[in-house]
């Protein structure tokens, strides 16, 4: 076997590890986990989860007394918890609880409940850490309970009280939001709620009290199966009902964007034509709102990534994907001015957006009505944005709102005294900068607007 590299994030669990062999992701199981694996396989446990699309599918490709190798279904783009919208985060939390209930009822348990064990594939939350299941020992508490609170309940409750931005905290606290901090950030009224008091405030107190105890008395505590199921069920009920206070904006989302119908249709007609001619199979729409433009594309796409800085837009997209069964779309939250960084040990556990998008290498990138935000709100020069867009796909479709555009005017006026600094923002400078990295193939004015669409090819 040649060209094998261990996955840099897969080192914590002695049961096995993920590695990449000739570009294919595989999972090795060590003898320490053979018993569990055989039981999970032979009882039909894995199959039930595969059938319900709750666990990533795998094939056993090798088996000896030293190791078993699984080849999981390929997921072409992994999104991380700090890139999920509120309802995606909820879906991941509910999936974890669903799996724990199912596991307990079948003699197993989840030995960890990290949010990083879940990602989104074909429009749905899916569990990707196949080796997280262990045997349930009668009357033992849930080992991963604290992890569930700090990875899932904590961030979701924070988002409920302080807005969706709170979900980003986990990029800094990869091991979950510290309990003391979590408890201190919640409003006083949460102490009067028996559910939140027991699951967060009291837990934080208990953890604080016992954190000096090194006697390893963990095993001494007991909890009946019924009691554990009650915890899991009450967590599920609470999280399922949890909402975002800012969610009321959804209803009239697209009405707020002032497109007149005919220019909107014209724009989508040109994009459709171009995408069709390019024979695009995979694409990323940067600043793609709720996926409206991607859905207008008639050519059949294999996989479309749609990212936006706005949690509500991504959430709306996620809802649409579920109702329309648009399983080819993967939505996620991304601030193009600060894309997700590489984090974790050696900065190699969770990969940066740039690393992942370069590996994914979409055929086409769409950047519709996003350049003026980058240039005028973010002060990113044309040269910088061109270099960024030229780094991951060959074909590029960009919409350039001219100075006369009402949005551009609004952004420029907000600069007051510094308005002159933004004199560079015009069509000529834009084209000159982008020509350094791209060849402009086609240019179309969108009738009835002050916007221009460009089709470009990386040089």
């Amino acid at each position: 076997m040649t060209n094998i590299t261990n996955h840099t994030a897969s080192y914590k669990d002695p049961s096995g590890f993920v590695f990449v062999e000739a570009g294919v992701v595989k999972r090795q199981i060590n003898p320490i986990y053979f018993k569990q694996y055989q039981a999970l396989k032979e009882s039909g446990f894995f199959k039930q989860l595969f059938d319900n699309q709750l666990l990533v599918k795998h094939d056993e490709v090798f088996s000896s007394s030293e190791k078993i190798v699984l080849q999981p279904e390929h997921i072409s783009f992994i999104t991380y918890p700090y890139e999920w919208s509120f309802n995606q985060y909820k879906a991941a939390a509910l999936l974890t609880l669903k799996l724990q209930k199912f596991a307990i009822e079948h003699g197993f348990t989840l030995k960890d409940a990290s949010a990083f064990n879940v990602t989104f594939n074909k429009g749905k939350a899916v569990f990707i850490d196949t080796l997280s299941f262990d045997f349930y020992i009668e009357n033992s508490p849930w080992r991963a309970y604290k992890q569930f609170i700090t990875h899932f309940l904590g961030p979701l409750v924070l988002a409920h009280y302080h807005g969706s931005q709170s979900l980003k905290l986990i990029s800094n606290f990869m091991d979950g939001i510290p309990l003391k901090m979590l408890a201190s950030m919640l409003p006083f009224k949460t102490k009067l709620n028996p559910f939140l008091y027991s699951n967060i405030h009291l837990l934080a107190k208990f953890e604080d009290k016992h954190n000096q105890d090194y006697k390893g008395e963990t095993k001494a505590s007991t909890l009946s199966k019924k009691a554990q199921l009650n915890i899991v069920q009450s967590l599920y009920d609470y999280i399922k009902k949890l909402n975002l206070k800012e969610s009321s904006e959804w209803g009239n989302y697209y009405n707020k964007i002032n497109y007149c119908d005919s220019s909107f249709d014209f724009k989508s007609k040109i994009i459709n034509q171009w995408v069709d001619n390019l024979n695009t199979k995979t694409l990323i729409d940067i600043g793609g709102n709720d996926g409206t433009f991607v859905r207008k594309i008639k050519a059949s796409l294999q996989h479309a990534l749609v990212c936006d800085i706005d949690n509500n837009a991504v959430d709306h997209n996620f809802k649409l994907i579920n109702t329309n069964k648009d399983s080819y779309i993967t939505p996620f939250v991304l601030d193009v001015l600060n894309p997700s960084a590489s984090i974790g040990f050696n900065n190699l556990e969770r990969f940066s957006f740039l690393k992942r998008i370069k590996d994914f290498a979409p055929d086409t990138t769409l950047a519709l009505a996003v350049i003026h935000h980058m240039s005028l709100s973010g002060n990113v020069s044309f040269d910088m944005s061109a270099r960024f867009f030229a780094s991951f796909s060959k074909d590029f479709i960009i919409e350039f709102p001219k100075r006369e555009d009402s949005w551009v005017q609004r952004l420029l006026n907000s600069k007051t005294d510094f308005k002159a600094y933004f004199d560079f923002y015009n069509e000529d400078n834009f084209e000159n900068s982008y020509k350094k990295y791209f060849q402009i193939i086609e240019k179309q004015h969108i009738t009835g607007t002050h916007r221009v669409l460009y089709l470009m090819k990386v040089k």
């Binding site: 009882s43 909820k90 879906a91 209930k101 045997f135 020992i137 508490p141 604080d208 007991t222 399922k240």
Partner: protein, 66 residues
Amino acid sequence: MYSLYFDPGLGAMIIQSIVAAVAAILLFSKNILYKVKAFFGLTKKDNDELFDDINVKESDIDNTSN
């Protein structure tokens, strides 16, 4: 269970019996409330399209290889 590769937290293990007791009371009272509401015809249908209930749908055929 030998894969003790992360600290589950002693406090978190001990507290679970209290959390479970609270959960049991909440679930019980919710159930009673539901029954009372149902008696007076006040129950609303669960119209959450995005999230279903906690149970995994099990296929009837037992796929064990035993």
